[in-house]
């Protein structure tokens, strides 16, 4: 590799980017100019409106026997005006008055006897003027209450302290958080999150231009024929995207930081909030920013390489944002601590680190806890960035990616079921169908289930999701004109694969529960599914249970995940990668974070079965056996045991035996299927 040529490519890209004044202005300069204008402007306007609300006079009505002193106290309150009305509640609903002060019918008597009289402030919390009127009235009531209290104390000859044995000073007087920390708490987390969004968008615009743009303008081919290697070209382009991404992030960061600082000092009515970032924190943040920007730049570059045109490349921004936004939003979700585990999650770790670094300013004890995590975040982010760069280079080296067929435009008439032999779903479809199935099940369940069904779901609702899955696969195959037999793998398996599946199915429950537990992948509780299944197990007979919880899920999930998804992915990637990805999707599909590892582990074995044998049926057998055994355990073990049986109740001996059975099954399938490495039939992905 020649560094000179990398620099040549970089220099040319930067020169081009700098000449693109309009893009430069819109992506870099405009946002930086806009933050102060927008935020401070917005802040000022909202503060002014809030002030107006305080100054405005809100009407209120009285109801019930209010003592004269209370009436006077309310009448003296600033910004409130009493209104006579026949039906106060009606007037409140019509917003003729913003507040009704209603005394209970026995108010004077109770008060007289020294009791606690009931006073209601009817208001509309969805109406700002009403809420303001309530605040003002509360102050007036407080004055009255204090007066009555003083009077009672005097009569009894008691001191004020008598009714207030414990004195808790206000929060403002006892808050140990420095103004900086409070500022970081409010603005730092927001800034950490926004930073990611800005870096993604900042990387995307130049990335789109630099690869998809070259393809579109017809300069790519020429560039590939020059003596620079693909790696040199990609690195040069990557560095230019990286530079723009960093510049965008820094520019925005600076502008936003200053804006927030300004905002904080204007908000700090009590002078107790301040947003600032000291030099040490800024440098540490910048250090972590580098691999993070590299990660996004490489991802953007890979997407841009995949695209045939700049327009297509731009559409990939949405999925990239959709994935990175939730990862970065952890900084604004309350009660998320930066643990070493979270620190090693790409994006999330960095964002939480930014937040905690800003929070730890001026707090050596806190800083000592945060700093050890910096290398963890740096390491994992750099690793992720390295992988992303590798991926971008790999895309760049594939001629079928660089010279993709010119845009095949989708048309509704393409959905006509024209059966094509051997046609399989593409990777896009592989992702789409499970997501669509989840959404359809969710909406159907909302429409069909009554609220009381949620705690103890009726039997048919369990079958609902399975039914939706089968319907979705059937519809996908019919509308996409796909090959039913090839997509699902409807071939008769041999005796050995079936025997292997038998071993896997029998061993899997013990093996997966023990493994997952032994590796510490699952928290103790498993309430959701366990409780639901138990309620079903209590209510149904054995045949219905086997059908509902073993056979039907096996058929539906195998068809969707080992048929549609696995073969769809396999059309674009290696067998192991397809099995791994489909297993993760299979685990995530169950929507219970505690069980992802458990389900995904099962998915690995089932995926191997499906690809190796080229048939759906061994997987169905193994899957049904696995589910059936778990259900049988729940049926025999009695209430409260299912969750425990599933994850915890497996002894090491049983676990190892189960693992051995699975291994034997896998080996049996492995050696018996003389089906070769490429077990899937000829592929023809459709998007």
């Amino acid at each position: 590799m020649s560094g000179r040529r990398v620099l040549l490519v970089l220099r040319k890209e930067v020169r081009e980017a700098l000449r693109d004044r309009r893009t430069l202005f819109v992506t870099l300069v405009l946002p930086i100019l806009l933050y102060p204008t927008l935020m401070i402007g917005l802040g000022t306007v909202s503060a002014r409106q809030q002030g107006k609300l305080r100054e405005q006079v809100q009407a209120y009505a009285l109801a019930g026997p209010l003592p004269e002193a209370l009436r006077r106290s309310l009448a003296e309150a600033k910004g409130l005006r009493a209104v006579e009305t026949g039906d106060p509640e009606k007037a409140l609903r019509a917003r003729e008055v913003r507040l009704v002060v209603r005394a209970a019918p026995d108010f004077p008597e109770v008060l007289e006897k020294g009791g606690s009289a009931r006073l209601e402030l009817l208001h509309d919390s969805a109406d700002e003027a009403s809420a303001e009127a309530r605040r003002k009235a509360l102050d007036a009531v407080e004055k009255y209450r204090e007066a009555v209290l003083q009077e009672r104390l005097a009569r009894a000859g008691l001191a004020r302290a008598y009714v207030q044995p414990v004195d808790v000073p206000s929060s403002a007087a006892t808050d140990i958080a420095s103004a900086t920390r409070r500022g970081a708490h409010v603005f730092g987390r927001l800034l950490s999150f926004m930073l990611v969004v800005m870096m993604v968008t900042g990387a995307f615009t130049p990335a789109v231009d630099t690869v998809a743009g070259e393809k579109e303008r017809g300069t790519m081919e020429t560039l590939l024929v020059c003596p620079a290697t693909r790696l040199e070209v990609v690195l040069g382009k990557f560095l230019s995207v990286f530079a723009v991404s960093i510049a965008t992030a820094l520019g925005n960061l600076l502008s936003m930081g200053l804006t927030f600082g300004q905002l904080a000092s204007s908000l700090g009515v009590r002078g107790k909030i301040d947003f600032q970032v000291d030099a040490g924190t800024a440098v540490t943040i910048f250090l972590v920013l580098l691999p993070l920007a590299a990660l996004f730049s490489a991802l953007a570059l890979a997407f841009s390489t995949l695209a045939r045109s700049t327009k297509e490349a731009q559409t990939y921004l949405t999925p990239l944002l959709l994935v990175s936004m939730p990862l970065s939003m952890v900084s604004v979700i309350p009660n998320i601590e930066l643990t070493p585990g979270l620190a090693s999650v790409p994006v999330s770790g960095a964002v939480l680190l930014f937040r905690d670094l800003m929070l730890a300013q001026g707090e050596p004890a806190l800083l000592a806890k945060v700093l050890p995590l910096v290398p963890v975040v740096l390491g994992t982010t750099a690793l992720a960035a390295g992988l992303a760069i590798r991926w971008a280079v790999w895309m760049f080296e594939r001629e079928e990616v660089l010279f993709r067929d010119p845009g095949v435009t989708f048309h509704w008439r393409d959905l006509r079921p024209v059966r094509r032999r051997g046609a399989l779903p593409g990777p896009g479809a592989a992702f789409f169908l499970p997501a669509a199935t989840l959404a359809a099940t969710f909406f159907l369940a909302r429409a069909l289930l009554r609220p009381e069904d949620l705690s103890s779901p009726p039997a048919w609702s369990v079958a609902l999701q399975q039914g939706v899955m089968i319907a979705a696969v059937a519809a996908g195959i019919a509308l996409g004109g796909l090959d039913l037999r090839a997509t699902l793998g409807l071939r008769v398996p041999g005796a050995f694969p079936l025997a292997g599946a038998l071993l896997i199915g029998c061993g899997a429950p013990a093996a997966t529960s023990w493994l997952v537990r032994a590796l510490g992948l699952v928290p103790e509780s498993d309430a959701g599914t366990g409780a639901m299944i138990e309620s079903l197990v209590r209510g149904l007979g054995a045949p219905a249970l086997v059908l509902l919880l073993a056979v039907l899920p096996a058929l539906a999930e195998e068809a969707l995940f080992r048929g549609w998804v696995l073969r769809g992915l396999r059309s674009q990637m290696s067998g192991p990668a397809a099995i791994l990805l489909s297993s993760v999707m299979f685990g995530a599909f169950h929507l219970e974070p505690e069980r992802i590892a458990f389900t995904a582990a099962l998915g690995l074995a089932l995926g191997f079965l499906a690809l190796r044998t080229g048939s759906l049926w061994p997987g169905v057998l193994a899957h049904a056996l696995n589910n059936g055994i778990l259900v049988a355990l729940a049926k025999t073990a009695g209430p409260g045991s299912f969750g425990g049986t599933l994850v915890g109740g497996t002894s090491a001996g049983l676990g190892v035996a189960g693992l051995a059975a699975v291994a034997a099954g896998v080996a049996l399938v492995g050696v018996s299927s003389g089906h070769g490495r490429r077990s899937s039939p000829p592929l023809s992905p459709v998007s």
């Binding site: 020169r15 300069t219 020429t222 024929v225 003596p227 001629e399 023809s684």
Partner: protein, 247 residues
Amino acid sequence: MVIVEGLTKVFREGRPGEVRAVDGVSFEARPGEVFGLLGPNGAGKTTTLRMLSTVLRPTAGRLSIDGVDVAARPDEVRRRIGFLSGATGVYDRLTPREQARYYGELHGLRGEDLERRVAWTLRLLQAEEFADRPCGTLSSGQKQKASLARTVVHDPPVLILDEPTASLDVLVARSVTEFIRAARAAGRTVLLSTHDMGEAERLCDRLAVIHRGRVRAMGTVAEVRAAAGDAPDLEAAFFRLMDGDAA
């Protein structure tokens, strides 16, 4: 010198929709010669040229350029060729001079050498007048000249030109043709594809008629006409060869 033996390219190999774009093509193009690939759209001309320029890998066959095996040393091959792709484009925000300089530098030229080559190339292509205007502001003929300048700035012994005169007006087309003749006179090997019979007849010393990925006839224009049963001209020969294939 370009040697092509049994060149084959199959797209989507082993999958439904398999396309045999190039099927056992062999020919030789010598220094000081303009060799043409003549064929209708989709005949396999561009795919052949792309394999020669190393951007596509052949499914089978042997390619050598200037004595260097394309499969074994693609990087060495890239130093020896100037490749003008069919849908060639320019960098809108660079000038023709900057673009030529960029490619010259990528080819390892620098300093005075580089400037001399860039100036010489722009002069040869009569591109000096617009050499310092951004390519985005140029006419399509001027853009084609800018592309050519970038292709030949390193003075390669072998030129591979995919439809170099397609969609150019007569004036620009003529200066491109003159440029190609000059390159031949200077002893370069010129390999070009075209579907223009007149251009092929005027410009090519020898040519190969390609249809559906195969060579249907090869030789000088006269030899091709003879091979098509003494056709009166190249166009008639071309149609006869196509028809013969359809029958």
